[in-house]
Amino acid sequence: MELICPAGTPASLEAAVEAGADAVYCGFRDETNARNFPGLNFSREELRKGVAFAHRRGVKVLVAINTFARAGAFGLWQEAIDDAVMAGADALILADLATLDYAHRRHPGQRLHVSVQAGAANPDAIRFYAETFGAQRVVLPRVLNVMEIASMVRETSCETEVFVFGGLCVMEEGRCSLSSYATGQSPNMNGVCSPASHVAYAERNGHIVSTLGGFTINSFGKDEPAGYPTLCKGRFATPRGSGYIFEEPVSLDAALMLPALRDAGVTAFKIEGRQRGRAYIAGVVSSFRKILAAIDEGRSPPAVSLAAMAEGQASTVGAYRKGWR
């Protein structure tokens, strides 16, 4: 089982490698990747050096070019693909059919992974990516339970990768427009969910009030843990009352589900958080490395609490165990 870890900066890449990552994923400093945040991501030179650093330690580097190309600007995505291949990327993580088609034709030997942003959530979709573009792995959306994942693994020959920790999209990725409604920008097209330029925090009577594009998202009480200013985890006023409708501020933590996911046939476990600091990367990656080592050796996994790292300081196993059904 591979452990796939995030890196928003070269320092984070090194932290992930040193903490025990099997592979690190990262992206360029532009709108071609779904974590296009201020001060994050890699220049071409940084990626080349990062790949060399990782390879010296036997760690792979996967490059996420996983936004959907803007009409009339496809050259930016083509350049990103060419430059990632030149830098020695072990795989490209792509979502847009046009980028998959370009990479498949232009770089036939390059390993391709289907990004979670593609929302490939059924065997037919996965088979299409594998047969049409030679995709060798698909990152599954965070909307499937373990039985559904096991069923899909049985029905396809493509490797599967699932998120096991970090920020939790409750919508099917690549198809969520909530951020667009509030800001005109989305992770799908611009690489940003709730872009920082549209976020504001204010203190009112001891509460922190977060707004996105002028819309109030949430109000956190004096000692209440806070969350990201995303609409899917905001409080809404409805005729039936006020509160969370889609999801509470919470992070995915599937540490307890790892044996079940392994038994389901999953190839790789992915940690979310390219926007997080080195401390998060080092802490979360080393914890999961220890848990995986214990599982591999047939020992009981060590008890670790990552709640302090989690959004809202709360965690959930999300859709892996759909208790509400």
């Binding site: 928003g8 900066t9 070269p10 320092a11 984070s12 945040f37 201020p38 001060g39 994050l40 220049s43 409750v170 872009p195 920082a196 330029s197 976020v199 925090y201 204010a202 203190e203 922190i208 956190f220 000692d223 209440e224 843990p225 806070a226 969350g227 999801e247 509470e248 501020p249 919470v250 933590d253 307890l256 926007q275 997080r276 600091g277 080195r278 401390a279 998060y280 990367i281 080092a282 802490g283 080393s286 914890s287 670790v304 609490s305 990552l306 709640a307 302090a308 790292m309 989690a310 959004e311 809202g312 300081q313 709360a314 965690s315 959930t316 196993v317 999300g318 165990r321 208790g323 509400w324």
Partner: protein, 180 residues
């Protein structure tokens, strides 16, 4: 979508003893200013990549407010005229301000504490231009600044390690070192 697996935990880095703040409050800030200017100059020299990552936000004005100290810092990273100075109160016209206990701010700057985790736990507070604050946080996190080494060379590096271990021993789990 509530989940029975949901857990919560506090994440509270140590704050400086209130007595320390009271003791230093009457002291003048003037002797600090050349030290801060020197520190910023050395950071610019030792970690030049920081500016590439800050990009357009390098010319913005940041307020850094250690809530357990009786003064705050005004930071203008600008490549042309960098400025870091201590002030009794932050001016109103700032692009962004970041507030939290000194140990939290230093830990985040040195990469031993995670900024988002501090924010989730309500220890850290950001106001104003969130994009500028994020760019500053990410640029500093990538630079791997060792403040002890910046100020005092190898001796400062060692002193910093000892001090950090001591302070973080009093902290709840927020940073990387607490997981191992």
């Amino acid at each position: 979508m509530s989940d029975p697996q949901m857990t919560r935990s506090a994440a509270i880095p140590a704050t400086l003893p209130p007595g320390l703040a009271r003791a230093v409050a009457p002291l003048p800030l003037a002797p600090l200013q050349p030290l801060l200017a020197l520190m910023l100059h050395r950071i610019g020299r030792l970690y030049p990549d920081l500016y590439g990552r800050l990009g357009e936000h390098a010319d913005k004005r940041f307020g850094i407010d250690p809530t357990d100290l009786p003064f705050a810092l005004l930071l203008e990273p600008s490549l042309r005229q960098p400025r870091l100075c201590a002030v009794r109160a932050l001016p109103a016209r700032l692009d962004a301000s970041i507030r939290g206990p000194l140990v939290g701010l230093v830990g985040m700057a040195e990469g031993t504490l995670d900024g988002d985790a501090l924010f989730f736990s309500r220890i850290l507070w950001v106001e104003g231009d969130v994009a500028a604050a994020l760019a500053l946080r990410n640029a500093i996190d990538d630079a791997r600044i060792d403040f002890g080494a910046v100020m005092l060379g190898p001796l400062g590096q060692r002193l910093g390690q000892v001090l950090r271990r001591k302070l973080q021993g009093r902290s709840a789990a927020v940073g990387a070192e607490t997981w191992s």
